[in-house]
């Protein structure tokens, strides 16, 4: 194969996933082009990872008690989830999926509002404009286009904000992902597409999803700069996202990041992962645990003490307890609210339908 021009090689990801810290927590030589985030940020990341993991366990527990209709756990993806939240400023926009509740908790969203979707009281419980966070998206890959569009709105106004769009490995197969990369590139907008490749789309393993050398190699086909990273190495994920976000913020256009990680739990609590994967595979990934890896690294660097670890665990416990308590209260719902926001004003027909329901409810009560 002949040599490739610079406008090609400059877009390709590294041949191997970027990594700072090995599975056992020892730091290797810093990968070329990236710098390790400050100890303070790593310390903060650790705190949020511990909290995020605890929140995640709590949410899964709530499904067993019937307090949540369903919950897709992000266990194993803590490095990605927390780095996504930390890489952004408060007024940057985040476009999450159903799996990214942990990232939203790390962003500071109220966990109970956040859970309205999975609790079944409404489709989205938080205020996207107040939180700069789009509703958690279910139709796969559709949110990447919204992210590109919102980033275009930012560009058109000459603001310095960026947009981060989350998507799974499976979602990259949808046509909308392709169109989003292309629109983002053509309009040169400040958006980072962050693929959490957790090895599975429900039961379908990556090998049946794509034959790409890595998903990050999709970038070059759109003229989008790309990188792949060890998704269980918080230091690496945060460093690469920092780089990508800075690139987008300074007008460099979109950026595609693929993080190689693993979904430790089933797709959701309703799924039975033993039908399609070996326990042994899951065990192998346990060795790559992102929380322990960062913990070891930070301890070795002297940034994290025994007391810190205990304090973070206690804080997480307290957070979970508060969350649990609030979720145990029976939520209030208003059936008439079904008609309130279909349009800015209910149409005459909807107003009449609301009256019908109101009468029914009154009859049931009276």
């Amino acid at each position: 194969m002949a040599a490739q021009p610079q406008n090609v090689t400059g877009l390709l990801p590294a041949g191997e996933p970027v990594r700072f810290v090995a599975e056992d927590g020892t730091a290797g030589p810093p990968p070329p082009g990236y710098t390790e985030p400050s100890p303070e940020r790593l310390r903060e990341a650790y705190r949020r990872m511990v909290l995020g993991r605890r929140f995640d366990t709590q949410a899964t527990a709530l499904t067993k008690q019937g307090r949540l209709a369903v919950y897709p756990s992000a266990a194993g993806q803590e490095a990605c989830q927390i780095a996504a939240a930390l890489a952004l400023r408060d007024d940057d926009w985040l476009f999450p999926t159903y799996r990214d509740s942990m990232a939203l908790v790390a962003r500071g969203l109220d966990p109970v509002q956040l859970m309205e979707l999975l609790r079944g009281t409404w489709h989205c419980g938080y205020d996207p404009h107040a939180t700069f966070t789009a509703p958690q998206c279910t139709p796969l890959a559709t949110q990447t286009l919204h992210a590109a569009g919102l980033a275009d709105a930012i560009r058109r106004r000459g603001e310095e904000r960026v947009v981060l769009a989350l998507i799974g490995d499976g979602g990259t197969s949808e046509g909308d992902f392709h169109e989003a990369l292309n629109f983002a590139a053509v309009f040169h907008v400040p958006v980072v597409f962050f693929v959490q490749n957790n090895g599975f789309a429900i039961s379908v393993p990556l090998a049946k999803q794509t034959r790409a050398p890595a998903l990050a190699y999709k970038g070059v086909g759109y003229g989008v700069a790309s990188e792949q990273v060890d998704g269980n190495d918080l230091v690496a994920v945060l460093s690469v996202l920092d780089h990508a976000v800075a690139h987008a913020r300074r007008g460099g256009g979109p950026f595609l990041v693929e993080a190689h990680t693993y979904r430790m739990d089933a797709h959701t609590n309703a799924d039975d992962a033993t039908r399609y994967r070996d326990a042994a595979e899951v065990e192998r990934w346990r060795a790559a645990d992102p929380v322990r890896r960062l913990e070891t690294h930070l301890r070795e660097r002297g940034v994290l003490t025994e007391e810190d670890v205990a304090a973070d665990a206690a804080a997480a416990e307290e957070f979970a307890a508060g969350f649990r308590a609030r979720m145990n209260a029976e939520p209030e719902v208003d059936p008439l609210g079904l008609f309130a926001h279909v349009y800015a004003e209910p149409t005459r027909q909807l107003a009449a339908q609301r009256e019908t329901l109101r009468a029914e409810l009154a009859a049931q009560e009276g």
């Binding site: 139709p139 949808e174 429900i202 999803q209 039908r275 719902v333 009449a352």
Partner: protein, 338 residues
Amino acid sequence: MEQLTMAQALNSALRDALKDDGRVLVSGEDVGPLGGVFRVTDGLTHDFGEDRCFDTPLAESGIVGHAVGLAMGGFRPVVEMQFDAFAYPAFEQITSHVAKLRNRTRGRVELPMVIRIPYAGGIGGVEHHCDSSEVYYTHTPGLRVVTPATPQDAYDLLRDAIESPDPVVFLEPKCRYWAREPVSFDRTGTPFDRAAIRRRGTDITLIAYGPMVATALAAAEAAAEEGRDVEVVDLRTLSPVDDETIAESVRRTGRAVVVHEAAGFCGYGAEIAARVSEQCFHHLEAPVLRVTGFDIPYAPPKLESSHLPNVDRILDAIDRLQWDDQVTLAAQGSVRDA
């Protein structure tokens, strides 16, 4: 006869089709080793091999478009869309190709394929998992659209659909997946394009399909206690519709109510109401009423019971069918949302 759930009956139909016809292929998201999120394809990959039942990449337009090519190449694909709203990415393939390729080529290219879509609600599913999308397909000429209400029909209709030379959109009422009844594999039941009268009655014809047939039957029972003898027609085939069965019934009873979960506005019930009003004009003692979902996006789980048509709403509609004392009132016009 075995007692089977609807999901199991569908599984049996797929199995028997795979056994009987080497051209049948089953594909979709998670239909392989997992057996589908509703287990309708449970064990098929294990028993027939990855060649016959296989997972695809996660892209619905891809799944349908790929199946179009397989069908052009001599196979008979049966594809699964994981949930109703996740068939929308395939809308162009379905509308512009699946529905039209035979017509486009003067019948030279046949597309014997089945698009299975679990649809409608009632299972506490979150947004995008409960759409009643039937009209998008029934309004599209070139598609057959069918929906079973019982395990037996699930078996029969799916076998028929797979053998049909026409593309079939096969709508599976999620909330009935776990309904159980004895299922015969003899295929001696109702023919493919015919409705079934599930309950004989003389006073009112209740017209329903898929998820709402059970509700309609329950309403008929309740109405019987109030002294009204309700006939229940299960449409089974939404396109083409079985005009004869419907018209014959309504001409006998003189009153009709259509029931479905989908939003009422431009819903399937509009077509039925319009046809019945036209075909049975002089037999109707009252306007054809519709009991449907509200004209809103599907409700979140905790509110779906407020949204879904239920026995009470059907009984209310029956009460509004201008029995002797009501004519004056009703003459002022009385639709729910007017």
